[in-house]
Subunit: 249 residues, 2 copies
């Protein structure tokens, strides 16, 4: 067990930060770490936007579903899938890239590139003693977020990353047992096995919720998924993407 793996295994999402702002140097290390991640065929199809302006953070927090830690943190990053500069290269060279840029494949490449970079940013921040929380809530209002941050065509915000000095230390929630997410040689399709796996994990999660010191409750993972998945959200995303230049052809 080395320092790096210790950092990875110690991850928990931090939802309460003190307001000490990140230094310019810290931000630079985080951005450089993000950029060091792999990128599909070297396309580097992503951008980051750092937001410090208190008014803007307040608005983002509102747009993301009134999460106070979007406003109160040491720095807020927005990670975007970005094929804008590739489109510019095409324009300058008088080449038609539209079939490539409008494909589902290329959108996936940009999402994957941005996410690899983001996780490096998260790990770098945590290695410096900072806490992080991914903010998927910004996808509640992508039109408004895009307008607020002046995003051009072919740039799509995927999630935020709130970073700062932790002001609490939540417990770590147990993940799915390894055998349920890691298969060897092939996937196992067997409903009986899946159901018994779910039972096993449901019991673990229920025990965790009952034993934890704060806000003890009794709920299984299946219960959570049932609630979440019965309630479709963000169904406008397809239309937003089309408007933003990603018809997912």
């Amino acid at each position: 067990m080395n320092k790096v793996i210790e950092t990875l295994l110690e991850h928990r999402s931090i939802r309460k930060f003190n307001e000490k702002q990140l230094t310019k140097e810290q931000i630079e290390i985080i951005v450089k770490s993000a950029q060091s991640a792999s990128t599909s065929s070297f396309v580097q199809a992503y951008s980051m936007i750092g937001i410090k302006d208190p008014q803007k953070k307040k608005m983002l927090a509102k747009l993301a579903g009134d999460q106070p830690y979007v406003e109160k943190n040491g720095h807020f990053f927005l990670f975007c899938a970005d094929l804008y500069r590739h489109e510019c290269i095409g324009e300058r060279a008088n080449l038609d890239f539209s079939e490539t840029l409008e494909s589902t494949e290329k959108f996936m490449v940009a999402v994957i590139d941005a996410t690899l970079a983001a996780q490096n940013a998260a790990v770098a921040a945590e290695s410096m003693g900072l806490g992080i929380c991914y903010i998927g809530g910004i996808r509640n209002n992508l039109n408004e977020v895009s307008q607020l941050l002046n995003l051009p065509n072919k740039v799509v915000p995927l999630f935020g990353l709130a970073v700062g000095e932790p002001d609490h230390m939540p417990e770590k929630k147990p993940r799915l047992p390894i055998k349920q997410v890691y298969f060897e040689e092939e996937y196992i399709i067997n409903k009986e096995v899946t159901y018994s796996h779910l039972d096993e994990y449901d019991e673990m999660i229920s025990e965790y919720y009952q034993s934890r010191t704060k806000s003890s409750r009794s709920e299984t993972w299946s219960n959570q998924i049932e609630k979440k998945m019965s309630n479709p959200v963000r169904l406008y995303v397809k239309d937003y993407l089309k408007k933003q230049g990603f018809p997912l052809k």
Copy 2:
């Protein structure tokens, strides 16, 4: 600069491994590190498949575009977006999740979850002195890969991760200058600025290619992007996703 950030900044993709196989313990540490990454609303919407079988690796290498390092490495992971177990939870509870599971939003969640996990796996492997290479090439033939690995509906392979002891040490290619990928407060839309940024980076890349010890060539980043984007690939992905239960509604 701590150990973790050093590991992140030292990343380079390894495309030649010796054939020493990963131990069971190494695989377990990598999988656990992957699982420690953040997951959107705790949905854990991904799976990993580890492939050791030489015949299967040979076939995957062929499907991924004849890359020898897909066959010859210390271990091969396939990372999949996975909403199969969520679908099973719905079936068991007699609830209709289809609107959620078929949405573009939920597919993005699964892609992001899988990718966050993968990057933790990559970092964990590199921290143990191993090398890694992401294999997007498996998206050349998703139907065949899915059949080979017995993937059910709602499971989509995103990329492979070849891991092993490096048998070469390539140079690090310079990434885009920070100011071109990291904005403050808002995106800068100005073609003149973008073009002059591209010129600056093109010069960096061209110098890098000319100065590097192996396979020196003269090419800019814009040249590379022009070639790549003029040649649309994997346009079948949209149809594949639909067939696999992701109509991206």
